[in-house]
């Protein structure tokens, strides 16, 4: 009882505070309210995907250009992706909205200012859809399980929509991974059917309301996470782009306790349900020369299938991954550059995926992207689809390089499938540089041959002496080995007509 009272009290203080600073341009809270909220919390995988469908209404006196979106303080550090779009019958339907992170004084959590595509007049209503993906929020409980046990996880969230605006009516639909639910909070008598729980409707919820929702249920879906990944794309103007991804994989589910029995894993179908045996990676359709290896060589358990619109790789790590186990591997392939490299005179634009598919519902804790441009590329400019941390550029030396290829390095943490988007790199490159490598080779061989010719003609000639043997007869002898001279002379004597 007491905590909720506290929250409401702080909310009250805050809302008055909010009214006081309403003139501030960052907060456009006045007048907006969430008229109807449909929230879907998808917990069927190892990610928590929360999709919120809001009917926003402007009850204030003036038009608004943007609204503020809030994320609960407990969940905010795990937020991997957020995206907003407008639903409506206008021609701007499904338009993606621009988001900018902002702060609200005195409130915990993470806030975004969502720009609307048009100004929202007083009294107008707008349907907005916000999609959020959280990683590592499903906590295995118990934290250690044996091979035969099933994996149970706990989700801790909010019964209400965390919003700076009052909410008139809201529903929450929770999708689970299985029917087996240990416990769930029962605020407002939720309805549980099959693999779902329906909360609500809750009416007239104050801004920034929080009420702990806790669901403890069975979830044997692969709890795979890529703890770190380095993706290198090397552009060659001779026709291909080499992509190499080095991936550290970890099973983030409940840790395996006690022995791993191969017998049980092979013979009993319900043994090791939460273990990951293999997964599918979808590579671009034009990927060629695919390799899949690790520190000690090729991983022979993988299978490659070439489909019409993609190359599908059945990635099977060397051993099944149980909770807490990890492995790493390197996958690489080549792409033809005509599909990704655009050019006009000496202007080039490389359009590649910043990060590509590894497995369904992937989560990448830390990504490093390296783009290696050809030697001689300059005026480099990068357009990224979302903010990404640029590191200082590096130089890379490989075959026949003299002054190094520029390498763009960037990092980003906590990425999910929604981040599979294109990055565009613009640069200028003088086509004459293409001749550098063949010329280098030609030059090297030229020098080699010249050296041999010089050796043959100058050095071995220098070793010869002329010895006068008889009137008018002289003989050339090689003095590089002393034994030759007497024979040489003797031989010459034989030739002299008697």
């Amino acid at each position: 009882m007491a905590p909720s009272y506290n929250i409401n009290w702080t909310l009250f203080v805050f809302s008055t505070f909010l009214l006081l600073i309403a003139s501030s341009p960052t907060v456009t809270a006045d007048g907006l309210c969430n008229q109807n909220v449909k929230r879907t919390v998808d917990l069927s995988t190892h990610l928590a995907k929360i999709t919120v469908d809001i009917l926003l209404s402007n009850r204030g006196g003036s038009a608004v250009q943007s609204f503020t979106w809030a994320v609960e303080p407990d969940l905010a550090p795990h937020l991997a992706y957020i995206g907003a779009s407008v639903w409506g019958d206008a021609e701007e339907a499904d338009a993606t909205l621009g988001l900018a992170q902002t702060t609200i004084h005195g409130q915990r959590g993470q806030f975004y200012e969502v720009q609307l595509p048009f100004s929202m007049e007083a009294g107008a209503k707008l349907r907005v859809k916000v999609e959020m993906v959280f990683s590592h929020v499903l906590k295995p409980f118990p934290t250690h399980i044996t091979q035969a046990e099933r994996q149970l996880v706990v989700f801790q969230g909010n019964h209400y929509l965390y919003s700076p605006y009052p909410t008139l009516s809201q529903n929450t639909h929770v999708r689970l991974a299985s029917k087996a639910v240990e416990s769930y909070t029962k605020l407002g008598h939720p309805i549980k059917y099959n693999e779902a729980i329906q909360y609500g409707p809750f009416r007239d919820v104050a801004p920034f309301s929080e009420d702990a929702m806790e669901i403890h249920y069975e979830n044997n879906t692969p709890f795979l996470a890529i703890s770190s990944m380095t993706r290198t794309m090397e552009v060659s103007h001779w026709g291909n782009i080499a992509v190499e991804e080095s991936i550290d994989l970890r099973h983030t589910g409940a840790l395996l306790k006690g022995p791993f029995s191969r017998y049980e894993y092979q013979m009993q179908p319900d043994s090791g349900l939460s273990a990951v045996n293999s997964f599918k990676t979808i590579l671009p359709a034009s990927a060629q020369d695919v390799y899949y290896r690790d520190e000690i060589g090729n991983i022979s358990t993988s299978r490659l299938r070439v489909l019409v619109d993609s190359v599908q790789m059945q990635v099977k790590p060397r051993f099944p991954l149980f909770g807490g186990w990890k492995t790493d591997y390197i996958i690489g392939y080549k792409l033809p550059s005509y599909e990704h490299l655009y050019t006009r005179r000496d202007q080039y634009a490389l359009k590649m995926r910043l990060v590509d598919h590894v497995f369904v519902d992937q989560v990448i804790d830390s990504l490093t992207v390296k783009i290696i441009l050809p030697e001689g590329a300059r005026n480099i400019r990068v357009d990224t689809p979302y903010p990404i941390d640029r590191m200082p550029d590096q130089l890379h030396y490989t075959y026949l390089d003299t002054f190094g290829r520029p390498v763009l390095v960037a990092t980003k943490t906590n990425m999910v499938e929604q981040h599979i988007q294109d990055v565009v790199v613009h640069y200028t490159f003088n086509k004459l540089w293409m001749l550098q490598e063949p010329l280098l080779l030609i030059g090297a061989f030229y020098i080699l041959f010249i050296a041999v010719i010089i050796y043959r003609s100058v050095i071995s000639k220098g070793m010869r002496v002329s010895i006068k043997v008889h009137q008018g007869h002289s003989v050339h002898c090689d003095i590089s080995t002393s034994q030759h001279v007497p024979h040489c002379v003797m031989n010459a004597c034989d030739k002299i007509p008697d």
């Binding site: 029995s261 017998y263 000690i296 090729n298 060397r318 051993f319 024979h487 040489c488 031989n491």
Partner: protein, 768 residues
């Protein structure tokens, strides 16, 4: 006829420059041909060793190469001086291993240097690929070195044939396929090069060639323990030449320089250290050096004092035996006093084939140290085995200093190969050299054109002129001229055809049909040899042994990758400093692939440590637990082939028992593992000690429940074709940590002791 031969001899002799003195350059195309043949031999040597890379991948094979690879990586990552000072705390736990001082660094330094140079040129090659392809590249170099050696011994055409033979001979291929990154890969090249340079220096008596020979010897010393072969064969050659009365200034210069420079250089290799002056294996070289000095001194006295032959003989008979006796006495005294190490056990096992089996089971347990039967010889040498005595005979028939050497080389290498199967490797080069001599000799005789050729160069015309002009004394003049011209072409006297051959050639030689028949037969033999080599290389020697394959039901190849599966599991999912106990065979692989600390490995320097592990493997669980606790073991690894039908730790278990028994005769007895009839059984006929042993329990844990196919009962061991005797296996101190897909590798975790000792029995409750 003779002219043709002379051309061949002259082609590469002076780099083609020899015959040019006469004006027209007829040797150009010959040196081009020689170059092309050598290049092709190199290419063939390289590419015929790539079966494993093409079928599997670029991977390091077997056991020892994994250590070499790991050491090379350490070298490239930390630099040469760190490598020399490397103390590997991850091997031989808790003793550790001073790697820098217990390894022949030649191989690693070679690979590291190549890697360094390539990377400095921005050729970004991974060190693994350098290591994998090092041996094939060096086989090309070996065939060039063999060419040079054979050319010194016989002539250019024999040299080219020898280069081609060694390029594909299975005896050499077995140790130098791609991925077989072992010392022998570079050492055979160093061996051949040293021998070539030795022959060269004996022939020329030049200090330059002797120093080159010493440098090459230094490389050999730094690369392989087989350098002892050189350091004994060369003095033997000198000694035999002395006994044959073939002493010369050339020999004196060659050996003195070689011995002194070679000795000083060989002392620089940390692993060899002071052995060249302090071990019995090297004393023959020192003795011969002293003898040579004494011999030369006596000769010096003769010249200086102007002794008559009778006086000289007396002096000689006085001094030389005296020197020999004094040397032997000094040797015995020094050995007795402990200044010179006595012969090692491995050395004795070379003379007495039964020695190792009795005294050093560790050496005897290795298959390649066994005495070979006839088939490895045939398998590895094929037709060359039959032709090389003929080559030897040709050499002996027309003996000179360097042919004495090759004869000694052939005889000693043949002996050692007959004692230890892995030494077929050192026999192969000399077999190729002598077979090439034999083939080349036969071809020269039978392939020659019957009609004298119409000269297309000035040399022949000129020669004919001189023949005509010489008239009656034709033969003598011709001989003289031949010597002259061939010497100018870079040959030494004695290499050219002999008087007998020449006589025969002048008489016309054998008939055309005989010639055709002989040549075709020889060609057929060579063709058979080539086919045999390819087949053997492809089927027997191109297997990484880390990866297994089976044929699937549809004829497709199934890769069984259990070793790497388990090793990689260890690498990824155990603590970084975890200690893994396994039989020593797998030590290098665990260190290389799993990157974990091992208790014993293939270095086998400490017999008692291995025996302790053997004892743990052979004891029952609680006794083994005591040993494992004392060794801080976290994981135990066994190889189990019962599912696949492979050889495994059960197959080599008796060796573990024997080695353990050698050190702990009170605790482990071989007869306890054999049943009343002396049989070694895993089925119901086995003994209790066997069933209780750690290896048995770890291999067969839960195997009793596994039914592999409908026709076989549960617990049927495919490797031994029997149902196991004890199916109910449970552990108290261990737990299964990982088992690979086909059960080939099984890893057990050693549990930490409980906080409280659990009671064996229930508490006795007083019932009042």
């Amino acid at each position: 006829m003779t002219q043709r031969k002379r051309d061949l001899g002259g082609g590469g002799g002076g780099g083609g420059g020899g015959l040019r003195g006469w004006g027209a350059p007829p040797s150009g195309w010959l040196s081009l041909l020689s170059f092309a043949i050598l290049l092709l031999a190199w290419l063939v040597a390289f590419s015929s060793r790539l079966f494993a890379v093409i079928r599997f991948e670029s991977i390091i094979h077997e056991f020892d190469p994994w250590f070499n690879y790991r050491a090379t990586r350490y070298l490239t990552e930390n630099g040469f001086y760190h490598f020399l000072n490397w103390f590997d705390e991850r091997a031989w736990y808790p003793l550790g291993r001073i790697v820098g001082g217990t390894v022949f660094p030649g191989l690693m330094v070679t690979a590291g240097l190549i890697h360094h140079v390539l990377n400095a040129l921005h050729v970004t090659v991974h060190i693994r690929d350098v290591c994998v392809f090092l041996a094939p590249v060096f086989s090309g170099l070996t065939s060039v070195a063999t060419f040079l050696l054979t050319r010194e011994l016989w002539n250019q055409s024999a040299g080219l044939l020898a280069a081609c033979l060694i390029a594909i001979a299975p005896g050499y291929t077995q140790r130098s396929v791609a991925g077989s990154y072992d010392n022998e890969g570079v050492a055979i090249f160093a061996l051949q090069l040293t021998y070539f340079l030795w022959v060269r220096s004996v022939k020329t008596g030049s200090v330059f060639w002797s120093v080159c020979c010493s440098l090459s010897y230094f490389y050999m010393v730094s690369a392989w323990g087989g350098y002892v072969f050189i350091v004994n064969l060369v003095p033997l050659h000198v000694l035999v030449l002395l006994l044959m009365g073939r002493h010369s200034g050339r020999l004196y210069v060659a050996y003195s320089v070689f011995y002194v420079v070679g000795l000083v250089l060989s002392l620089q290799v940390p692993f060899v250290g002071f052995q060249p002056v302090r071990s019995s294996e090297h004393m023959a070289a020192a003795g011969v050096f002293a003898l040579l000095q004494a011999y030369a001194f006596v000769h010096y006295l003769r010249d200086r004092l102007g002794l008559t032959p009778r006086e000289f003989l007396a002096l000689f008979l006085l001094c030389v035996p005296l020197a020999a006796v004094a040397g032997t006495a000094a040797l015995v005294l020094l050995t007795y006093g402990g200044y010179i190490a006595p012969w090692s056990g491995r050395f004795y096992s070379l003379w007495d084939t039964g020695y190792a089996a009795v005294h050093i089971p560790l050496i005897a347990s290795v298959a390649e140290h066994q005495t070979p039967t006839w088939w490895p010889f045939f398998f590895n040498l094929h037709v060359l085995l039959c032709t090389f005595p003929a080559g030897l005979w040709f050499c002996l028939k027309d003996i000179n200093d360097e042919r004495v050497f090759v004869a000694l080389y052939a005889v000693s290498a043949a002996y050692f190969a007959a004692v230890m199967s892995r030494l077929i490797l050192t026999l192969t080069p000399v077999v190729c050299v002598l077979s090439a001599v034999a083939f080349s000799n036969v071809f020269e005789r039978y392939l020659a054109d019957e009609n004298p050729r119409n000269g297309n160069n000035a040399a022949i015309t000129e020669n004919k002129d001189s023949k005509r002009s010489s008239g009656g004394g034709r033969s003598g003049k011709l001989r003289k001229q031949h010597v002259a011209s061939s010497s100018e072409a870079g040959e030494r006297p004695g290499r050219g055809p002999t008087e007998a051959q020449e006589k025969e050639e002048e008489e016309g030689g054998p008939g055309i049909h005989l010639r055709a028949a002989v040549c075709l037969t020889m060609l057929f033999l060579l063709a058979l040899f080539a086919v045999h080599c390819t087949t053997v290389t492809s089927t027997a020697y191109s297997h990484p042994s880390v990866v297994l394959t089976t044929r699937g039901s549809r004829g497709d190849i199934d890769v069984i990758d259990d070793y790497r599966e388990a090793y990689y599991w260890l690498r990824q999912n155990t603590a970084e400093r975890a200690r893994v106990m396994a039989w020593w065979d797998y030590g290098y692989q665990i260190a290389g692939m799993a990157d974990r600390t091992t208790i014993v490995d293939n270095n086998t320097w400490n017999n008692s440590h291995i025996a302790l592990v053997g004892k743990a493997m052979a004891s029952n669980e609680s006794a083994a637990y005591g040993i494992m606790r004392s060794l801080d073991v976290d994981y135990v690894l066994v190889i189990f082939g019962g599912v696949l039908g492979q050889g495994d730790d059960i197959s080599k278990f008796l060796w573990m028992v024997r080695i353990a028994e050698g050190e702990h005769p009170g605790d482990v007895r071989e007869r306890d593992y054999l049943n009343a009839r002396g049989e070694y059984r895993v089925d119901a006929g086995g003994t209790r000690t066997m069933f209780d042993s750690l290896v048995y329990k770890m291999c067969y844990h839960r195997f009793g429940e596994l039914q592999l196919s409908a026709r076989q009962p549960a617990g049927f061991d495919r490797a031994r074709g029997a149902v196991i005797g004890e199916k109910d296996i449970s552990f108290k101190h261990l737990e299964e940590a990982f088992t690979s897909e086909h059960w080939l590798v099984r890893i057990y975790r050693v549990k930490k002791p409980d906080n409280r000792e659990p009671l064996e029995n229930r508490l006795r409750v007083h019932e009042d």
